[in-house]
């Protein structure tokens, strides 16, 4: 494996808007809001940024394609700006672009910004595509809940777990995220919800009920990255650094080849293994202090716990019900409420995860602050279990 970028890139400033139904603001305003916070946090001026990566997944209805919406909104002064898109993993992809630019020495200070303005679609859930190309002639066009719901039946079949028991563990995932979201001032959903309400909610895609599904939100988040040396020169004595950032994309094998049973997400396993290797992590259960994962649906988070190696195969339901991933558990997951409650403006989500880790590492997470917060992981998943892009990033302190 290549040397990687461990500790070659520091994050010196981050910003994140309040996620939610932001009827009062467009994508430009969301970007400005997150960017302004990040600039202040970094203690630099806009024009010190030499390159930018903007992540936006669903350009058809909201932000618009290319670099230009971000370049215009932030009035970036003719610097190189690149739009990236990797479905729901777009936010981490933007961070990866900016981090690689700094690590390579191509620029000193770079910006990663993710944004999505979903609530202009006119309805709940993600907007629809209309291109009419090859895949449209055969591939079912199910909703996002529909694609991830299939993990549940497949997981139950693989491990011989009763659907009702699995559903209870899934409900606990959502219950926990609502508990955490209530402590996140910028979260979309801030109300705690009891287990019975979660279990009794109407079905969206069998067996996912309403509370098994994350919110669809407006929002933006961004990170300003530089070298550790420049970070120190800017007064960041012990900056947050990127320990690893890895990505794995399906080549179609899940859908077309072999015996994958639909009960896991192979790309998460691959991206995590690479990220652990890059960060030098040998025992993630012992070394990671907390995680922010792509809990687009409760069953997704349950399966991710195994794919990341934090639960043994078939043990995630029991670990979840035992509270291992609760706020006071051994490896808390979604301290900020996750996609489930903080919200999911697609292009911003990966950076929102990094924002929480970044704040936790610096002891700035307020009521949500984890006592020991030295190493945190983000997991950002695009697509569907059978055709995905998984991004895993690990953040820590330099010294």
């Amino acid at each position: 494996m290549a040397q990687g970028i461990k500790d070659k890139v520091a994050i010196i400033g981050m910003g994140c808007t309040r996620f939610g139904e932001r009827w009062e603001v467009g994508a430009d305003g969301l970007m400005v809001e997150a960017f302004t916070e990040a600039l202040a946090d970094a203690g630099i001026e806009r024009d010190q940024i030499e390159a930018a990566w903007v992540g936006n997944a669903l350009d058809d209805i909201n932000v618009g394609n290319s670099a230009l919406p971000a370049a215009h909104a932030l009035r970036l002064q003719r610097i190189p700006v690149t739009r990236v898109e990797n479905m729901c993993a777009t936010g981490t992809e933007a961070l990866r672009g900016a981090a690689y630019a700094v690590a390579s020495g191509a620029c000193d200070i770079a910006l990663a910004i993710g944004v999505e303005k979903l609530k202009d679609a006119g309805y709940g859930g993600l907007p629809l595509r209309t291109k009419g190309l090859h895949n449209d002639l055969w591939m079912p066009y199910g909703s996002a809940p529909g694609t991830f719901a299939q993990l549940a039946g497949a997981y139950a079949a693989r491990h011989g777990i009763a659907p009702a028991d699995l559903k209870r563990a899934m409900a606990h995932v959502s219950w926990k995220s609502h508990q955490n979201g209530a402590l996140s001032p910028k979260a979309h959903l801030r109300g705690a919800v009891d287990m019975e309400k979660i279990l009794g909610a109407p079905l969206i895609a069998d067996p996912l009920g309403l509370f098994d599904c994350c919110g669809v939100s407006d929002g933006a988040a961004c990170a300003i990255v530089t070298t550790p040396e420049i970070a120190r020169a800017l007064g960041k004595a012990n900056p947050v650094t990127i320990k690893a950032i890895q990505l794995s994309a399906s080549n179609g094998a899940e859908l077309q080849y072999g015996e994958w049973d639909g009960a896991s997400v192979p790309n998460t396993q691959v991206a995590a293994a690479r990220a652990y290797a890059e960060a030098g992590i040998r025992d993630p259960r012992a070394e990671l202090d907390f995680t922010e994962v792509h809990d687009c649906f409760s069953i997704t988070e349950l399966v991710i716990m195994e794919d990341l190696g934090l639960s043994d195969p078939g043990r995630a339901p029991a670990d979840i019900l035992d509270g291992r991933y609760d706020r006071d558990g051994a490896i808390p997951c979604q301290l900020d409420g996750g996609l489930k409650c903080f919200g999911h403006p697609v292009g911003a989500t990966g950076l929102r995860m990094a924002y929480e880790v970044y704040n936790q590492l610096q002891g700035r997470a307020g009521e949500r602050q984890r006592a020991k917060a030295d190493l945190g992981l983000t997991h950002n998943l695009g697509g569907a279990p059978f055709n995905s892009v998984a991004a895993v990033a690990i953040l820590g302190r330099l010294d």
């Binding site: 079912p140 529909g146 299939q150 549940a152 039946g153 895609a205 179609g252 094998a253």
Partner: protein, 475 residues
């Protein structure tokens, strides 16, 4: 005559409306006849073409010289559905293909032409006819299809006589300006149809066969209105078993497919040496007499099909499925998926034929790709055609999606694995009452894949359905 029927096939959609249910719903109005039996109801993603292809699937190997598609309810008016069927059945492009329309008699006329020419053909008739709520037609009609494979003198049912009459009796009509049937008085239609069309044609056909009408053992007569064949039989003083009536009772009047479906049921009952009369009606009449010399493949399955199905318990759902009412499905239903002719030209034949590819190491994948998905193969290569439509598969993962728009929710989809190893993400249809589960065995059905209402275009693909159907049970 050295030609006959080599095999026959039929297809009925899963859902059956109990006409009593509709009659009760319409009791206040005095409308809603007929009130007995069932009406077969196509899913939203079935049309006359998909129904006809399903009926013809068992007849398509080896490939015939010609394929004829007969329907009065074909979706396209200037796009040959027979050509789409040729691709759906993976028949060679050298197949002669023709659409026949504008008469319920189109199926029997095409059959007679094929038999007289001695050509090896498939004649497939399918109907999903629009009707108006409250009309007798809405409950009397059914959706379904039948298909016949013609052959030579060795055929198990040989044509021994025939007669046709052309007579523009306007018993009912549909037109571009009146797409649902406008029907005239039944007593008038019955009197004229029996006296001027049916009786002369049946007599002439029997004479052509060299038999007396009394020699007929079975009949499949597509009555324009009920009671016509009874009147003919009474006049001829004969009492053969008539089989279209049971199709009407259990599935409905199948239009261009009706007589052919009735023929399948008749052939299922016939024994060697029996004479079977087939009568098609519409703008005239075709009467064909067959002598049965051996069981006709496919006939027994057609008879059994009449008793299979699932009751459709909701009148609103019935009205929605038949296009009689337009429910407000919300913004998600505004989604329109445009099909590009360029894409159809490049890959459409593989899509509608459900043809995947086999790589040089034997792995089968769908769809094909330049680089095989098999990781052991590291260079682009040409994949050999493998048709998946006729294989069974097993459900790997599945859900009932209630968020995604479907005209008949929920939207079932999941990953299925075929017996040859290919795996495909597919829509699933005809869900059992308990839903689909991992490990369920499924078979493939041709369905409408996408419908662009504003542009009036649709594409077709295959969807997975349970292997077996429930028995309908007593009304």
């Amino acid at each position: 005559m050295g030609s006959g029927i080599k095999a026959i096939g039929g297809y009925l959609p899963l859902l059956r409306l109990d006409r009593k249910l509709a009659a009760r719903e319409l009791a206040w109005s005095g409308l809603g006849m007929p009130r007995a039996g069932f009406r077969a109801v196509a899913d939203w993603d079935e049309d006359s073409l998909t129904l006809a292809v399903e009926a013809a699937r068992g007849l398509a190997s080896p490939a015939p010289a010609a394929f004829r598609f007969a329907s009065t309810s074909a979706y396209f008016t200037d796009r040959a559905q027979s050509g789409i069927a040729v691709d759906a059945l993976a028949l060679p492009r050298s197949t002669r293909a023709t659409d026949l329309a504008n008469s319920r008699r189109a199926g029997t006329s095409a059959l007679l032409d094929a038999l007289l020419s001695g050509s090896d053909e498939i004649i497939a008739a399918g109907e999903k006819r629009p009707t108006q709520p409250g009309s007798a037609a809405q409950l009397a009609y059914g959706d379904g299809a039948a298909a016949v494979r013609t052959g030579g003198a060795e055929s198990p049912a040989r044509l021994v006589g025939h007669a046709s009459l052309t007579h523009d009796l306007v018993d009912h009509y549909t037109s571009r300006d009146h797409p649902t049937p406008y029907a005239y008085e039944e007593r008038f239609v019955r009197d004229i149809a029996v006296a001027e069309l049916l009786l002369p044609a049946v007599r002439a056909a029997c004479a052509s066969a060299g038999i007396e009408p009394a020699a007929l053992a079975h009949v499949a007569c597509a009555d324009p209105v009920s009671g016509c064949w009874k009147a003919v039989a009474k006049k001829l003083k004969i009492a053969p078993v008539e089989h279209c009536e049971v199709v009407s009772q259990k599935a409905g009047d199948l239009g261009a497919a009706h007589a052919l479906f009735g023929l399948g049921v008749a052939l299922a009952s016939a024994k060697a040496g029996d004479f079977v009369l087939l009568v098609g009606f519409g703008g005239g009449v075709d009467a064909l007499v067959f002598e049965v010399v051996a069981p006709v493949p496919g006939a027994a399955e057609m008879a059994a099909m009449l008793d299979e199905g699932e009751r459709l318990a909701s009148i609103t759902r019935f009205l929605s499925l038949t296009g009689s009412i337009a429910l407000d499905w919300g913004m998600r239903a505004e989604f329109e998926q445009k099909a590009q002719a360029t894409v159809l030209e490049r890959v459409g034949r593989d899509m509608i034929g459900f043809i995947g590819g086999r790589d040089s190491l034997g792995n089968v994948q769908f769809p094909k790709s330049f680089y095989p998905v098999n990781p052991a193969l590291t260079h682009p290569e040409e994949l050999a055609d493998v048709r998946l439509a006729d294989l069974t598969a097993k459900v790997v993962s599945v859900t009932a999606d209630r968020l995604n728009f479907s005209p008949d929710p929920p939207f079932h989809f999941g990953l299925v694995q075929f017996e040859n190893g290919a795996r495909v993400l597919m829509e699933l249809v005809n869900a059992p009452q308990t839903g689909f589960a991992v490990g369920d065995h499924v078979r493939m059905r041709l369905r409408i894949k996408s419908q662009h209402a504003r542009l009036g275009f649709r594409t077709y693909f295959w969807k997975a359905a349970p292997l077996a159907r429930p028995q309908l049970g007593e009304a």
